[in-house]
């Protein structure tokens, strides 16, 4: 119980673990945490090792950097290499490999690629350099998409004509549906994402209970939050209930953030389909700019190669993202693929399952195995 002593309330954690162990009994339960932030918490705090063997956590597709397919990175690099373009990106995307390298390498070859903290910083750059086209590489789930939307509304208000967005925003519900449809994986319930749910609320997850009969508990990012959510999932199963519950009510409201949802609806529409790394094409799973914003849309303004590129053969990010294999079961994990020289996206982002496991979980697991748990 080395880890538990480090939790905020060790006594509460022990009580939860005891109840989880008792309720799980001899059955085996598999719960998926959808959000990369949860994956990080689970490895960072050794949660897998304080849980009984009967409760298994499976990591889902909720790391927005991890799910961007290689072809889109290639498209981003092609735009970045266009004359006159200043290409701006969050730091997380800079090291994601495309088929001919990443954005940092494109920068080394002469492209004007710059890191920004916020889409508003990209817009400021556009205002300050009116003779250049400033492109913002927009990625993220509904947590970051409203920020891009507000920035675009501001750009329109200011009459800025040299600001453009390469939109790769994705939505949280379709990949959950895709996983539930997948024959590879049998799950008993979900830990619902935290920050995304502050925007979308809990209502969009109703299909998980209504159509697929799986419970879902939206949860926070402390170890105690995750343990409590697992306890709530098991209690539902024990009592024969199947509900959407909110463990993170101190931040997440059932209705989400109506203002954020309104700006999303004003600026974006759903794409007919979008390719996800590992999950393939998922219909209506990503956002594009509405026609009223076409002037700001990179895909309307530049010739995008749009070539679909298969992942490197050795890379098993797809299976990791679907929860079919664990990070350490990938053939190149920790050998050819490390955070310093990532082959796949899951090793790039600190919220990717592979990077989180490489940084924290690996050692925990070795210790746990050595000590015979």
């Amino acid at each position: 119980m080395r880890f538990v002593d480090e939790y905020r309330d060790p006594a509460a954690a022990r009580a939860l673990i005891a109840r989880i162990t008792e309720v799980a009994g001899d059955d085996h339960f598999k719960f998926m945490e959808v959000c990369g932030g949860h994956t990080h918490t689970i490895y960072r705090h050794g949660i897998e090792h304080v849980l009984p063997d009967t409760v298994e956590l499976v990591h889902g597709p909720g790391c927005p950097v991890c799910v961007i397919p290689m072809g889109r990175v290639d498209d981003a690099i092609a735009v970045a290499q266009t004359d006159g373009v200043i290409f701006t990106s969050f730091g997380d995307m800079m090291r994601v490999p495309g088929s001919t390298g990443n954005l940092l390498e494109a920068k080394a070859r002469g492209a004007d690629v710059r890191f920004v903290y916020s889409p508003l910083d990209a817009l400021r750059l556009a205002v300050e350099t009116p003779d250049r086209d400033v492109v913002f590489f927009a990625v993220g789930f509904e947590t970051t998409a409203p920020s891009t939307a507000l920035t675009l509304l501001r750009a329109r208000e200011l009459g800025v004509t040299n600001f453009r967005v390469f939109c790769n925003h994705v939505t949280i519900v379709p990949p959950i549906k895709a996983i539930l449809e997948s024959p590879d994986l049998r799950l008993d319930g979900f830990l619902g994402p935290g920050h995304v749910s502050t925007v979308v609320g809990n209502r969009p997850y109703r299909f998980v209970t209504e159509q697929y009969g799986k419970p879902l508990v939206t949860t926070g990012f402390e170890p105690l939050d995750v343990l409590q959510a697992i306890d709530m999932l098991l209690a539902q199963i024990r009592d024969g209930r199947c509900e959407i519950e909110n463990q993170y009510a101190r931040v997440v409201r059932d209705e989400g953030n109506p203002r954020a949802l309104a700006v999303l609806a004003e600026v974006f529409e759903l794409r007919p389909h979008f390719e996800w790394r590992g999950l393939g094409f998922i219909s209506q799973s990503a956002l594009k700019l509405r026609p009223e914003f076409a002037g700001f849309d990179v895909e309307e303004h530049y010739r995008i190669p749009g070539v679909r590129v298969a992942d490197p053969k050795a890379c098993q990010c797809g299976e990791v993202l679907k929860g079919v294999i664990k990070p350490w079961e990938c053939k190149v994990f920790g050998t050819a693929c490390t955070p310093e020289t990532p082959i796949g996206t899951c090793m790039v982002s600190s919220e990717g399952a592979c990077a989180a496991y490489y940084n924290f979980g690996r050692l925990h697991r070795e210790v746990a195995v050595t000590l015979g748990r």
Binding site: G36, L123, R124, T143, L150, R154, V160, F221
Partner: protein
């Protein structure tokens, strides 16, 4: 990018709507608060910030817990705070109506 960082509202900036100066780990940062329009933020309130935008209003206890959790991240929190330090959101482009 996915980290939500807690900050405390110092003052609402009147130059343009929807901007506030927010104390993040002891440094005042300009942040867009347009998505929390309905919360009627006031100095002293706590918010979670993502990529230059306040995304949710939280209470002081939650802010403290979130910050403690982030501090465990070490380098990643440092990276995020450094990234935030490069940000220069100004009234000219950063406000929204």
């Amino acid at each position: 990018m996915c980290l939500g960082i807690p900050g405390q509202v110092i003052e609402l900036l009147e130059v343009h709507e929807h901007l506030a100066r927010i104390d993040v780990s002891g440094v005042g940062r300009v942040v867009n608060i347009g998505l929390l329009e309905d919360e009627h933020l006031a100095p002293g309130d706590w918010v979670l910030i993502h990529v230059g935008f306040a995304m949710s209003k939280i209470d002081e206890d939650e802010a403290r817990r979130a910050l403690e959790g982030l501090q465990l991240l070490g380098r990643e929190l440092d990276d995020e705070l450094q990234a935030l330090a490069t940000s220069r959101i100004t009234a000219e482009e950063g406000g929204t109506r």
